[in-house]
């Protein structure tokens, strides 16, 4: 299957092929303004052309700050931020990820929270007059995540369907 088709078959990647390279996303992007390392139009183009390696193993896709400005302004309604998430998903499955994401993954899976709440902080709630924290539904979440094989990586990037 073509790389671009792999993306369009995934949740989030459906609108990849609508892009006609107008560049509105780039001028909307707060990150592109600061560093030329991240250019959303270029990432989309590489994906359309099937240049898998650069997209999946490169750093560019991890620089998106998810501000959704590009989605909002795109005249072809390409969901660029979602497509980048889809690409990150594929990168993750191929074991290409910044270290911090591995931490997020395990915190989420084990504690049901991406940012854990320490016991100290929990205790302090009473001092502030805040009601105690409800228990986290970690068990339910784990069952759901198991059905997705969440966080599993493999040697080739997974296909969604």
């Amino acid at each position: 299957m073509e790389f671009s088709e792999k993306i369009t078959n995934r949740i989030g990647g459906e609108t990849l092929t609508s892009c006609y390279q107008c560049g509105t996303c780039v001028s909307s992007c707060p990150i592109a303004r600061i560093t030329s390392e991240f250019n959303p139009r270029e990432v989309i183009k590489l994906a359309q052309l099937g240049v898998r390696e650069e997209v999946i193993t490169g750093d560019a896709i991890w620089l998106c700050t998810s501000c959704y400005n590009c989605n909002e302004r795109c005249p072809q309604k390409v969901e660029i931020a979602e497509v980048i998430y889809a690409m990150r998903n594929m990168a993750f499955e191929a074991s290409n990820k910044p270290a911090i994401y591995a931490e997020f993954a395990s915190a989420f899976k084990e504690q049901g929270r991406v940012v854990p709440v320490s016991q100290f902080v929990e205790k302090k709630r009473a001092d502030y007059g805040l009601p105690p924290l409800q228990p986290t539904g970690v068990e339910a979440l784990q069952k759901i995540l198991a059905a997705l094989s969440f966080g599993k990586t493999s040697s080739k990037e997974g296909e969604d369907k």
């Binding site: 995934r10 949740i11 989030g12 707060p30 990150i31 600061i34 560093t35 991890w62 620089l63 700050t65 998810s66 501000c67 959704y68 400005n69 989605n71 909002e72 969901e79 931020a81 979602e82 998430y85 889809a86 990150r88 998903n89 993750f92 911090i100 994401y101 997020f104 993954a105 989420f108 049901g112 929270r113 991406v114 940012v115 854990p116 709440v117 320490s118 902080v121 929990e122 302090k124 709630r125 502030y128 007059g129 805040l130 924290l133 409800q134 228990p135 986290t136 539904g137 970690v138 068990e139 339910a140 979440l141 069952k143 759901i144 995540l145 198991a146 059905a147 997705l148 969440f150 966080g151």
Partner: protein, 291 residues
């Protein structure tokens, strides 16, 4: 008395008790009941979306299903939680095949997403359920001398097709709410630009650059404080100032407050009871302007 299930998320209980406090206090004075449901989890924000989008939709749907079971709409304080949950809510209500797929995942935990409840951000509850008039009427300590920079952040406004929070190009809700406290919402350059909060930990340089843009432009506009509605924006601008001081020797002394904190103060809640000491940049300037 309208009731909502309160969705706290992770960051607020972990790091910003002041946001939670001010929200609870202000809403209770406005006759809104907040119900704390058990067994909620993280809303699956960008870090989880980056790992697996289906997990994000499933976790969001799971949390919404708990509110559905309790027959309550959800309200969030964090813009990130709002985007994650409201987006999932809208998508799954629209796309039947996705809803089926996600419900299959949820069935492993014995839950089902029905799509019969709404997800709102705290500001929407203020504007739609209470209304600007009542907010204005609830003010005991007007902030008439206060000049505020309203900062919306990204995740309540976009993607506007799913969130329908306000006009993404010309939002008014926060500005209107600020003005109902008798304060003035002052225009400034690049008002709708991202604060860079999510870049913290990935590229601190980029994050600081974006935070700096905000601080420079709001300072130029001569405001007393920046009002946020997202814990990440808060951290980026509050702790960000500490980092800018040490890394770039720049000082802004810009107080950062959540809207709920401004509201609570204007209602007359005592500053000592609001955990304001958790702010890295002091907010004395603002308190002094309370009438």
């Amino acid at each position: 008395m309208k009731s909502y299930a309160l969705f706290l998320g992770c960051t607020i209980p972990a790091r910003q008790p002041s946001y939670e406090l001010s929200a609870r206090k202000s809403l209770s004075r406005l006759d809104i009941e907040l119900v704390d449901l058990p067994n909620m989890t993280c809303c699956a924000p960008p870090p989880v979306e980056s790992i697996n989008l289906e997990a994000n939709l499933s976790a969001a749907a799971y949390n919404i299903s708990l509110a559905e079971e309790a027959d309550l709409d959800l309200v969030t304080l964090c813009a990130g939680c709002f985007q994650s949950l409201a987006k999932a809510n809208a998508i799954l209500k629209q796309e039947e095949h996705l809803k089926k797929r996600i419900n299959k995942n949820l069935s492993h935990a014995g839950k089902e997403f029905k799509g019969n409840k709404e997800v709102k951000h705290y500001l929407q509850v203020l504007k739609d359920d209470i209304g600007l008039k009542k907010i204005r009427a609830s003010v005991n300590r007007p902030l008439s001398n206060l000049k505020v920079a309203a900062f919306y952040g990204c995740h309540v406004l976009r993607p506007s097709g799913f969130l329908r929070f306000d006009d993404p190009e010309r939002p008014r809700i926060l500005d209107d709410l600020i003005e109902s406290l008798h304060a003035r919402s002052v225009p400034y350059r690049n008002k709708l630009k991202c604060c860079g909060g999510l870049m913290r930990g990935i590229s601190d340089d980029i994050a600081l650059e974006l935070a700096r843009d905000k601080l420079v432009n709001t300072s130029k506009a001569g405001v007393d404080c920046i009002t946020t509605l997202c814990p990440f924006c808060f951290v980026a601008l509050d702790i960000g100032q500490i980092q800018l001081r040490s890394k770039r020797q720049e000082t802004y002394d810009m107080s950062i407050l959540h809207y709920s904190e401004l509201l609570a103060l204007a209602m007359g809640v005592k500053p000592e009871e609001m955990a304001l000491d958790t702010h890295k940049i002091k907010v004395d300037k603002v308190i002094e302007k309370l009438e």
